[in-house]
């Protein structure tokens, strides 16, 4: 029962929101509560509580997946904060209603998919989340948002198509549609089986995997701040949940896929950071930083796929990275709404310091959760193959992250936009940041692998050094770095533009193709037969025949021959 409440409570509140009259007002108040049952469950629930929903979909099952309560905890926490942030915002208008409802539906999808224990309900919740979040993206109604929405939708539909193909194949090759069976069944498939490709690419779109990422920097920033926060902090992790659920992690080792994931992950980590340096809008910078951070997580996943023993070490790293990224990124996104050019004096200084906290946590500075995650990451890499090149790559990506965060800080300090947050929203944000400060203890509590080593100078030094390098580099060579990245990025094609153009071209090609214009491909019986019946020759023949028949001698001859044939038949029959 508690599971059903946790997943479907947002839907109930959405129903309140659509009620006429005071429904919207009450609904908006209640909206902040929508994620609470899930949060409660994430904190108190244990792995054994499972709810089977007979009759629902194709027999659903809700419960903690292979990664325990981690994802539910993060998801519900982020949704709770963002929902509260929205509810505390300025007075709601009629336009807020659709936002409210869609926000809650998306919440239901996101919470549902991290608790689903079977492929069908997972896919259902995934689709619910994907399609409802479209309306969050286009909420502002600007041309920019519309374009972002269009590209998002094209990619989302492609992703859904790939996923359904992959999920079908996965379910077909396993005895049931429960994840427990699927993961172990996929372990026996050869690496070349298309199921891996479709699932990788399908989820890769959602995760902003490099080459499939281009919708992300468009879509995430155009939404209102709380929606951007959930998009970038929570929904993007759905892909990780999917991979962890489907792939036989810790059961089998797939070299090729592992290396592919690791390479794509590291590629993403670099690409996101470099591309972000080019941007001026703080929210777009954050979106690129999400690509970069997801790259690190995908890299970790690659380690786990590569070697089943390594997964034991890689899994907690992923959880820590997810946790750290989710909280910091939502704080940063909400921070873009809190910060503004109209704040000055000591308040501005406090604000900047506050903003620096999640930025530093993301970069992995000492005394932050990020540092612990990075430390464990290095340990995991050390235990695996190619440890030396990977370690140096990770070190470089840390520097890049620090650079990107420094760039973000500068952009947000010099922003021209006015602050949009109310006082209570600002207070909520401050609480969130304080929570981020407490993350290391939470990590230690949740994952025993992550120790607090704040007296260990070598640990502190190794965490501090890439961050310091990044900041110093940015302060010294900021302009030059921008120029350099400009050159690099110019040389890359703009995939979003290509997708946009392809869509238009294909659409117009298909609609204007000769095949479509004419009645090609269909036999028009009606016209065909009419033409024959009414043609001159047919008329002439029939008229002539009729004339001949009316001639008595011909008729008599025909009649006689008919009689003879009939008599012959009768004789032959007897």
């Amino acid at each position: 029962m508690i599971w059903i409440t946790a997943v479907f409570f947002p839907l109930l509140i959405a129903a309140v929101c659509v009620l006429p009259g005071p429904g919207l007002r009450i609904g908006c108040r209640l909206m902040s509560l929508a994620a609470l049952p899930a949060l409660y469950l994430a904190v108190t629930g244990d792995a054994c509580t499972v709810t089977d929903l007979e009759n629902f979909l194709l027999k659903s099952s809700l419960g903690f997946g292979p990664s325990g309560n981690t994802f539910l905890l993060i998801t519900s926490l982020i949704w709770f904060t963002s929902g509260l942030f929205w509810a505390l915002g300025p007075r709601k208008t009629a336009r807020s209603r659709s936002f409210c409802v869609m926000f809650l539906l998306t919440m239901c999808g996101n919470i549902g998919l991290v608790t689903a224990r079977d492929a069908v309900s997972f896919y259902t919740f995934f689709a619910l989340m994907t399609f409802c979040s479209f309306s969050l993206i286009v909420h502002s109604g600007t041309d920019l948002a519309r374009r972002a929405g269009r590209i998002y939708l094209i990619m989302a539909v492609l992703g859904e198509g790939l996923l359904i193909a992959g999920i079908l194949m996965a379910v077909f090759s396993s005895p049931s549609h429960y994840f427990i069976d699927i993961a172990s069944a996929l372990a026996w498939l050869p690496e070349t089986h298309p199921v891996f490709l479709t699932l990788s690419a399908g989820f890769g779109i959602k995760a902003g995997m490099v080459f499939l990422h281009f919708w992300l920097p468009l879509a995430h920033p155009v939404a209102p701040a709380p929606a951007s926060a959930v998009l970038s902090a929570s929904m993007i992790k759905a892909a990780l949940v999917g991979w962890i659920n489907f792939f036989p992690l810790g059961v089998a080792s797939f070299d090729t896929w592992g290396i592919a994931f690791a390479a794509l992950g590291i590629g993403g980590a670099f690409f996101g950071a470099i591309a972000g340096l080019l941007q001026k809008d703080p929210k777009i910078i954050l979106a690129y930083s999400s690509i970069s951070q997801m790259g690190l997580m995908i890299f970790c996943l690659g380690l786990g796929i590569m070697d089943q023993m390594l997964w034991l070490m890689a899994a907690p790293v992923i959880y820590l990275l997810v946790f750290n990224h989710a909280l910091s990124k939502s704080a940063l996104f909400l921070g873009t709404a809190v910060a503004g050019s109209d704040i000055s004096g000591p308040r501005k200084k406090i604000l900047v310091i506050m903003l620096a906290i999640p930025a530093l946590a993301l970069a992995g500075a000492p005394f932050s959760g990020g540092a612990q995650a990075k430390y464990l990451l290095k340990e995991a890499v050390n235990a695996g193959p190619f440890n030396q090149p990977f370690l140096s790559l990770i070190f470089m990506s840390s520097i890049l992250t620090a650079l990107l965060m420094a760039h973000f800080m500068r952009q947000i300090i010099t922003t021209k936009k006015k602050s949009q947050a109310t006082f209570s929203q600002t207070m909520l944000w401050v609480i969130l940041i304080i929570a981020i400060l407490g993350l290391p203890w939470v990590f230690h509590e949740l994952y025993r692998e992550s120790r607090i080593m704040w007296t260990d100078s070598s640990f502190l030094l190794s965490a501090a050094w890439p961050v310091l390098t990044g900041i110093v580099l940015y302060l010294l060579f900021g302009r030059k770095i921008e120029k350099l990245t400009n050159i690099i990025m110019r040389s890359l094609p703009d995939m979003a533009l290509i997708i946009d153009k392809t869509w238009y071209h294909l659409n117009s090609r298909i609609t204007q193709h000769g095949l479509m214009e004419t009645g090609w491909g269909q036999m028009n019986f009606a016209r065909f037969t009419e033409r024959i019946v009414q043609s001159q020759s047919v008329r002439k023949i029939s008229r002539d025949l009729e004339l001949r028949m009316s001639n008595w001698s011909i008729f008599g001859m025909l009649f006689m021959s008919l009689i003879i044939i009939f008599a012959l038949l009768v004789l032959w029959g007897t």
């Binding site: 007979e54 009759n55 629902f56 979909l57 194709l58 027999k59 659709s98 069908v120 896919y123 259902t124 689709a127 619910l128 399609f131 309306s135 286009v138 109604g141 519309r146 929405g149 939708l153 539909v157 492609l158 859904e160 198509g161 790939l162 359904i164 193909a165 079908l168 194949m169 379910v171 077909f172 659409n507 298909i510 609609t511 204007q512 193709h513 095949l515 479509m516 009645g519 491909g521 269909q522 036999m523 028009n524 019986f525 009606a526 016209r527 037969t529």
Partner: protein, 489 residues
């Protein structure tokens, strides 16, 4: 058994009534009565395991057989329930227009024919009702009596009569070759010797061509988009229940109950059929993409969607069978919703073109919500009903060893998304920037009789997917047909 035939007779009696004064009441009473009767039969069949059958000889070795088995029950339930909502819708839709008596008379006859098709126990009975359906739907198509409508009616008649003639040829030939055949679960032709196989192949081809006209298999689909000129409830019924569905149902019957799925596969007949269905699916979707008239787009979408049923029937796997049978119902409830909504847009605001629909979601939110639900279902997005069909079709095609069909399904889903999502997008997220001119004003966004039917069907489309695993959901019934009672696949 007797009581059932009595009820059926009674229903027929009611259906053929044409009463101008009490028409509405009679229509509704008839429809409700029929629904009740069908549910009673369903109860007897499913719970008491009792098969109803009526038969008498028509001479020359032709028997007239009416029988209610699982498959007929499925189609019966679909047609009777949807008939009830469509009647309600039609009453609201045609309020104050001329020739309503004629319309409702033929409307009822049309459903009688459907019922007959559903219950037909052998091919000849099936054929009789099939032709009957052709004739009684013609007046519905040309109801508006405009030049375009008459033209469309003629096209429709040409196609269907030719199809009927082919079907007749096939039925008689089969009777000559194999003697009188009733529909049997496993097919009855396997007993014939191998020397007959070539003849059977030809007969199969003829039968499928005859049925394919109504089931709108490319290239026999030409009549369907043209017949769009009919009033919205007629289009809804044609696309969801009556004509198109009758063709598809016939194909299912021929494959499963006359030839037998495995035997047809053994004769090598099913793979070409699957290819033809796939071509139809893709081609219909592509055509739909290029239409700007909402109803035309929906019509081409039907061409595409209905072939899912044929595709499912043409794969030798139980999952596919389930998919085909369940899509028979799912496509019906989703497509009827779409047509109801298109009718609402046209009737209350005079909108026919897709480009005019911008921002209509704010003016008619309920209709737009229902349209969205059904359109998403058509694409195959869970938890709507369409997903369940596609899921089973996909699993079945993998099971039957033809994985390429999954590719067809995915491409078709992408194309469906490409022609439905822009519509949904412009309904909700674009602004029209102009005043709506209201043709029919009412207290709600549209007269209640135009709102309730699509609400019911949209809810059905949602719940059929949401609670698919329930034993009495369409999927549950389809599974019982394919696997037998109480077996979980």
């Amino acid at each position: 058994m007797l009581s059932s035939s009595f009820f059926t007779g009674l229903i027929m009696f009611f259906l053929k009534e044409q009463n101008t004064r009490l028409r509405t009441a009679l229509n509704l009473v008839g429809a409700v009565f029929k629904v009740v009767a069908v549910h009673y039969m369903a109860y007897r069949l499913l719970v008491l395991d009792h098969i109803h059958q009526v038969s008498f000889s028509m001479g020359l070795g032709f028997d007239f057989v009416l029988r209610v088995d699982f498959l007929s029950l499925m189609f019966l339930a679909l047609s009777s329930n949807l008939w009830l909502v469509t009647t309600l819708y039609a009453v609201g839709y045609l309020e104050g227009s001329p020739n309503r008596s004629r319309f409702f008379g033929f409307f009822s006859l049309c459903v009688t024919a459907c019922t007959g098709i559903a219950m037909a126990g052998n091919l000849i009975t099936f054929f009789i009702f099939y032709e009957f359906l052709t004739l009684v739907t013609y007046p519905l198509v040309v109801h508006r009596e405009t030049k375009v409508a008459l033209e469309a009616g003629r096209t429709y008649l040409w196609y269907t009569i030719l199809g009927g003639a082919l079907l007749f040829l096939g039925v008689v030939w089969l009777q000559v070759v194999a003697g009188p055949l009733e529909f049997v679960d496993t097919g009855a032709l396997e007993a014939l010797g191998p020397d007959q196989h070539n003849i059977l192949r030809v007969i199969f081809l003829i039968l499928i061509m005859g049925l394919g006209v109504k089931a709108a298999l490319v290239p026999l689909h030409g009549w369907l988009p043209v017949a769009m000129v009919a009033p919205a409830p007629v289009s809804a019924l044609l696309h969801a229940v009556a004509v198109v569905k009758a063709g598809a149902f016939g194909i299912v019957r021929v494959i499963f109950d006359v030839f037998g799925r495995d035997f047809a596969g053994f004769l090598g007949l099913l793979s070409p059929l699957a290819v033809a269905a796939s071509v139809t699916i893709i081609y219909g979707s592509l055509r739909a993409l290029s239409q700007n008239d909402l109803k035309k787009r929906l019509a081409y979408s039907t061409v595409s969607q209905i072939s899912y049923i044929t595709l499912g029937a043409a794969v030798i796997a139980s999952f596919s069978t389930v998919g085909a049978i369940v899509h028979l119902v799912h496509q019906g409830i989703m497509k009827i919703t779409l047509f109801f909504c298109a009718g609402n847009f046209a009737e209350t605001l005079g909108l026919h073109d897709i480009r005019d629909l911008k921002g209509v979601g704010r003016r008619m939110p309920l209709t737009a919500i229902m349209f969205t639900v059904a359109a998403l279902g058509m694409i195959g997005i869970p938890p709507m009903a369409g997903f369940v069909s596609k899921w089973y079709l996909g699993l079945g095609s993998l099971d039957g060893g033809s994985g390429w069909i999954v590719g067809v399904l995915v491409i078709s889903s992408l194309l469906n998304a490409a022609y439905f999502l822009p519509v949904v997008n412009s309904i909700w997220f674009e602004s029209s920037g102009r005043e709506w001119k209201t043709i029919r004003s009412s207290r709600l966004e549209a007269p209640w009789m135009l709102l309730v039917p699509p609400m019911l069907t949209a809810a059905a489309a949602l719940f059929a997917g949401l609670f698919a695993d329930w034993n009495w959901s369409p999927l549950g019934l389809a599974r019982q047909i394919a696997f037998g009672m109480g077996v979980y696949p």
